[in-house]
């Protein structure tokens, strides 16, 4: 189910916790699993649960509770826009509208070529750098005005 590289990552996460508390690694393992698969199909969640010796339903509860796990396939680049109030005051809404215009899709939609998925996010803890985006849960982009947005979209090959 998972590459040996991902399994090595799993082992490093498990080692952070007491031997009888392997379940603590579920959040990190699900994140690694999603990184490899692009999203979290039910089989991947079950495989993580089996690896950690916990009931699959308990792993599914975690995967469905936290917003950054994707339980459905999505575009190659997931762009999450913070539109919470502090960001909105400094252009968060506008940046989201600009992205929607450029990509021709709304929030929670994917472009026809499968390249971009757009999401509206909650506070990312970077309000001073607004507007902010996160790409694929990993890379935070600050001060996203039209010029920077154009550049970002070009860099997403």
């Amino acid at each position: 189910m998972f590459s040996s590289e991902t399994l090595d990552k799993f082992a490093r996460e498990v080692a952070k916790y007491p031997a009888d508390q392997k379940q603590s690694a579920v959040m990190a393992c699900l994140a690694h699993a999603q990184e490899e698969k692009g999203w979290l199909p039910a089989e991947a969640i079950e495989a993580v649960a089996n690896y950690l010796g916990m009931p699959p339903i308990a792993a599914y509860e975690v995967a469905s509770f936290y917003n950054m796990y994707d339980l459905k396939p999505l575009g190659k680049y997931k762009i999450t826009v913070c539109t919470n109030l502090p960001c909105a005051l400094s252009g968060g809404y506008h940046a989201g509208e600009y992205l929607q215009q450029k990509l021709g899709i709304g929030y929670n939609e994917t472009t026809a070529d499968g390249k971009f998925t757009l999401k509206e996010g909650e506070c990312m803890g970077a309000c001073g750098d607004a507007p902010v985006f996160i790409v694929n849960n990993r890379s935070m982009c600050s001060h996203m005005h039209p010029e920077q947005i154009d550049k970002l979209l070009e860099e997403c090959k």
């Binding site: 952070k16 916790y17 007491p18 508390q21 379940q23 603590s24 690694a25 579920v26 959040m27 990190a28 699900l30 994140a31 950690l52 916990m54 308990a58 509860e61 975690v62 509770f65 936290y66 917003n67 950054m68 796990y69 539109t83 919470n84 109030l85 502090p86 960001c87 909105a88 005051l89 400094s90 252009g91 809404y93 506008h94 940046a95 509208e97 600009y98 215009q101 996010g121 909650e122 506070c123 990312m124 803890g125 970077a126 309000c127 001073g128 750098d129 607004a130 507007p131 996160i134 849960n137 990993r138 890379s139 935070m140 005005h145 039209p146 010029e147």
Partner: protein, 442 residues
């Protein structure tokens, strides 16, 4: 770089942007000297806790509880595992200080946690990092590797019998995990749903063991308090409000960012440090302590000093020190609509008053914003929020109720105008003019 300015900085003193975060840089700034002093000169747990108490350091995560007192609640002589947990799940809208502390001074957090472990007899710690700041989480893991390699973490630290292990655990998008017992549940690999208190974490915490949870800024302050002495730290601020504090200023100022200033500095001075209002527009309102703190109108906040007691006296909370500044172009109904959506979205669903109540509050504010409000809606909102506040396991219910209550209290006229005229008091073409977003090309 988001550190924009400071007066008498402590935590962020001598930092040089992205270049100064590594162990060698921290050591060059005097880092890990306090850990060495404690272990090599035989300071006791009581000595350390006593110094923290003297500093009147109050919890920087939002509640403002005295840290030294909290530490003294831990059963230090309890045999078996005890835990120290750092809360870097920074998702309170408006707050972005812990991200900068972790980015520019991660070893201060690590040293603070090791010292806390020593003081409370804990041998293991976790730092729970907001999942959205992935790059910072990775950097913190690198900093931990450095500290381990240098012998500051692990067994027999500096050749003594004291050992302490520390690991990073990341969140993955749940505001509720900033609540300390939800955070513990999350570390245990479960949904982040808060626990009923009591028992408090000091007696039943992570894995059921005694645990103390503090905010990132709180831990990062510890080495500096020990270095300068509790009394000197206290004197940086004002009585009962010890030290300097980081304020995250967002919204309609010329230079949003983090500012480390002594507690007790006037809001007017902070606003001036931020370069004043963007475009020279007029200040309308400020949320002084993160989105969960009641909003204050301009004339009230302009008379406040930035410390726990002054903001509390004015009817709000210093909270996490997240200062959200709004100018005259903001429609307060629309602003509240967005905040209400946030609490509805992030309610964990465990307690009925919060799960159902936050949905109703959003629904009603949304209809007022969209010209469908009814004359009885403001009373309805007050009734709903009154049935949430104080009736839930954790403080998210209260946090969702405070903005609604305070927005209606201070800006009732705007809400009534929306309901009566089906339109906004701030003309549509003016709204959000202060956002500073460069024009969308036609």
């Amino acid at each position: 770089m988001a550190m924009m300015g400071a007066i008498n900085p402590v935590l962020m003193a001598g930092l040089n942007g992205d270049d100064g975060w590594r162990l060698k840089d921290y050591v060059a700034r005097g880092g890990y000297e306090q850990l060495k002093r404690i272990l090599q000169t035989g300071l006791t747990q009581e000595d350390v806790i006593g110094e923290v108490k003297k500093s009147v350091l109050r919890g920087r995560g939002g509640a403002g509880f005295p840290t030294g007192l909290k530490w003294s609640f831990m059963p230090r002589s309890f045999p078996g595992d005890k835990y120290v947990v750092c809360n870097t799940d920074e998702g309170e809208p408006g707050t972005f200080k812990d991200r900068d502390i972790m980015r520019y001074n991660p070893h201060a957090v690590i040293e603070g946690m090791i010292i806390a472990g020593f003081a409370m007899g804990a041998s293991r710690g976790y730092n729970y990092v907001h999942g959205e700041i992935w790059e910072i989480y990775k950097r913190f893991e690198e900093a931990l590797d450095e500290a381990r390699a240098a012998g500051f973490l692990g067994q027999n630290i500096l050749g003594t019998s004291f050992g302490f292990e520390l690991f990073a655990h990341h969140g993955y998008g749940a505001y509720i995990c900033g609540e300390e017992t939800a955070l513990l549940e999350s570390i245990e690999g479960k949904k982040g749903q808060p626990r009923f208190k009591p028992p408090f974490p000091a007696s039943f915490g992570l894995y059921g063991k005694p645990t103390t949870i503090n905010n990132t800024e709180t831990f990062a302050s510890i080495p500096f308090i020990l270095k300068m002495g509790g009394e000197e730290f206290l004197n940086l601020g004002k009585p009962n409000n010890g030290g300097t504090k980081l304020f995250s200023v967002s919204g309609h100022v010329n230079r949003p960012g983090n500012y480390e200033i002594p507690l007790g500095t006037s809001f007017a001075q902070l606003l001036e440090m931020c370069g004043g209002m963007r475009g020279g527009r007029k200040l309308k309102a400020v949320i002084p302590g993160g989105s969960s703190a009641p909003v204050l109108p301009a004339d009230v906040i302009m008379d406040c000093t930035m410390d726990y007691d002054s903001i509390s006296k004015a009817g709000s909370m210093l909270g996490s020190g997240a200062v959200i500044v709004m100018d005259e172009t903001v429609c307060m109904v629309k602003a509240l609509e967005r905040l209400s959506f946030f609490y509805h979205e992030e309610s964990c669903g465990q307690c009925t008053p919060c799960r159902e109540g936050t949905a109703w509050m959003y629904k009603v504010v949304h209809r007022i914003e969209n010209g469908l409000g009814k004359p009885e809606d403001l009373d309805l909102l007050n009734s709903v929020l009154g049935n949430i506040a104080g009736r839930t396991i954790c403080a998210l219910g209260d946090a969702a109720a405070f903005p609604v209550q305070s927005f209606i209290k201070h800006f009732r006229g705007e809400f009534e105008h929306h309901i009566d005229h089906k339109t906004c008091l701030v003309p549509k073409d003016v709204q959000w003019a202060g956002s500073g977003f460069h024009k969308i090309p036609a």
